[in-house]
Symmetry: C2
Subunit: 155 residues, 2 copies
């Protein structure tokens, strides 16, 4: 149980942007120079974030990406939903909402042959995570300093 690299890389990009002065735009080239990600892959990720109205972009020379709103207004929840959302099993709709019970038209349909009490558990999991991630903003993540004692950079 994990998030994909899209969420990981996307978060690193957003943290990078959050540390710039508000409104200042950033090019993919610049991010890639710092983080050594694949430029074309980061493009994809930023496009997802743009569709979700988390970043805005400007085309053309002097173009780039910037946060669409203050970092204190962007929650981890919306970032994760934007980036995990394209997966076959996405955070908000499939996994914990209807894990053992896909929705067919307007009814929840359990595909197991004996009834089980799992749905409330997955539902509560989703509630827990939504509440937690909904309470964390990009500002917090970008500000927070790692515990130097346990955290060492490579290069």
């Amino acid at each position: 149980m994990r998030f994909t690299t899209k969420t990981e890389y996307g978060l690193v990009c957003l943290i990078y942007m959050a540390r710039k002065s508000p409104g200042q735009s950033v090019t993919i080239k610049e991010i890639v120079k710092t983080e050594r990600f694949s430029a074309t892959y980061i493009e994809k990720i930023l496009q997802k974030l743009r569709t979700a109205n988390i970043v805005i972009s400007h085309q053309g020379k002097q173009g780039g990406y910037a946060l669409a709103k203050a970092s204190s207004e962007i929650t981890l929840k919306e970032i994760i939903e934007a980036l995990e959302g394209g997966s076959t099993f996405d955070v908000s709709l499939n996994t914990f909402g209807v894990f053992c019970a896909p929705q067919i038209r307007d009814r929840i349909v359990c595909t197991h042959f004996s009834m089980c009490g799992l749905r409330p558990v997955w539902h509560k999991t989703k509630e827990l995570l939504d509440h937690f991630y909904g309470s964390i903003t990009l500002e917090t993540i970008a500000k927070e300093e790692p515990e130097v004692k346990n955290l060492v950079t490579v290069n």
Copy 2:
């Protein structure tokens, strides 16, 4: 973000076993007849559960599987750890513990080039889920009745 079918199928099997009288053993054949799972796949899952001391098995004619302890003593946490545990990214060790920071020898090493404040977030996620799943027993899941209003069986 989801659990694999191993966890899903495994839970269904355990619920099936929990509803038998204590100590009564169950064959794969019997489970498969009820749930229409692949027998060979269920074998693999039950072997994982056996290794984790959640079920015990008896070989030979009249053999089968039974819960290794009372269903009230088996938590969802240990079931999930047993079944997701073999994955490359497992619940207890990799994902939320050290998502952006693999452990190399005895130090946590952040592979990103700019520091980020994500580790405490994944750590807290793990704590939340461990606490929640640690508090739910197989007995509870096996007992609980689905809300018939929203939950319809197929077949």
